[in-house]
């Protein structure tokens, strides 16, 4: 996996990966889960933009449809990407908070 791709990573794909890290979900369940997780309610267009890109990257994969809804699950590569990104964010958060406390 090319780690440079992480540089172009914006929030919606991260939210989707984080949501799917808790188990497979379809679109509506993802929107609700992301809203609970971080207070952001993704629009359907934004959500499917993220899903399409993540699927093309091979970081999530579709499961057989349930009626007209299709659940997705995170892949092993997607887990690795999410872990790497969250680790970077944790480092950044720790450093940022440390600087604020020093003020």
């Amino acid at each position: 996996m090319d780690d440079s791709k992480l540089g172009h990573f914006s929030d919606p794909p991260m939210f989707v990966l984080a949501s799917l890290a808790h188990g497979p979900k379809h679109g509506h369940a993802m929107i609700e889960d992301i809203a609970r997780l971080c207070g952001t309610r993704l629009g359907p267009g934004t959500l499917y933009g993220a899903i399409a890109r993540l699927e093309q990257q091979g970081w999530i994969e579709p499961l057989p449809p349930e009626e007209r809804r299709r659940p997705y699950r995170i892949t092993a590569e997607g887990e690795r990407v999410l872990r790497a990104k969250l680790t970077t964010l944790r480092r950044f958060t720790k450093a940022g908070l440390g600087r604020l406390e020093a003020l």
Binding site: H8, G27, G43, T46, G49, E67, R68
Partner: protein, 230 residues
């Protein structure tokens, strides 16, 4: 959301995207409230999908390229009208400079640079001639190749190509000596002709050049239409 509105919104997406996600996306839209904010989100996302497609496109597209595409949509008059004219003006300046400098350096003492030449001068003036005659065609092909993959109307690329074609057939270069024995002077003017026959002949040539310039645009558009219908 009203199923009919959900279907209409889903139809805003490009066909390859709809074939993969259309049914599930429509189902998702139908479960939502269907307010204005949701509709705006879908319209904006569909536009982005046209500009930077995930299906049949490059998903890791450089953001700079996306910004460039965005300019093609937001200011097509500048990208396909003004920018090519500026490029053509630059090319004509370079061609005139080559003519003027070649006249001073390689043909001192002659009243005009348009005389019989030999040796190195053939190559030197040949470069200027290539820039002068080649620039409109290359710029026209550039407009076509940039415009064809974009989801914009053909209006501004057509206007840009027509302007370039018209300028290229009306451009005339003049060489003169304003002061006898002094430095030569190169100037350009643009005239279609003074008689009806001259005007119609100029327009015919402009049409020929336009047809030549528009070829890459048509080829890419046809290829795009073919890949979408496949």
């Amino acid at each position: 959301m009203n199923p009919r509105l959900a279907h209409l919104l889903m139809r805003l997406y490009p066909r390859p995207w709809r074939e993969r996600y259309g049914a599930e996306f429509e189902a998702l839209l139908q479960t939502g409230r269907g307010d204005l904010r949701m509709a705006a989100n879908v319209v904006w996302s569909a536009l982005r999908e046209h500009l930077a497609p995930t299906r049949g496109g490059k998903i890791n597209q450089d953001p700079r390229s996306l910004r460039f595409q965005s300019w093609c949509v937001r200011a097509p008059w500048a990208m396909f009208g003004l920018a090519p004219l500026c490029l053509l003006a630059g090319a004509y300046f370079v061609a005139c400079f080559i003519l003027w400098s070649g006249w001073r350096l390689l043909l001192p003492g002659t009243n005009t640079p348009f005389v019989r030449i030999d040796g190195f001068a053939i190559y030197y003036f040949g470069v200027g001639r290539a820039v002068y005659y080649g620039a409109p065609i290359l710029i026209g092909w550039g407009i076509g190749l940039i415009a064809a993959p974009q989801s914009t109307t053909a209006l501004w690329p057509t206007v840009g190509l027509a302007l370039i074609a018209l300028i290229s057939v009306t451009a005339q270069v003049h060489a003169s000596h304003p002061v006898p024995g002094g430095a030569g002077h190169i100037s350009m003017d643009f005239a279609l002709g003074h008689s009806l026959q001259g005007i119609s002949s100029g327009l015919f040539h402009a049409l020929m050049i336009f047809s030549l310039m528009v070829l890459p645009y048509l080829m890419v558009r046809l290829q795009k239409a073919h890949s979408l219908s496949a």
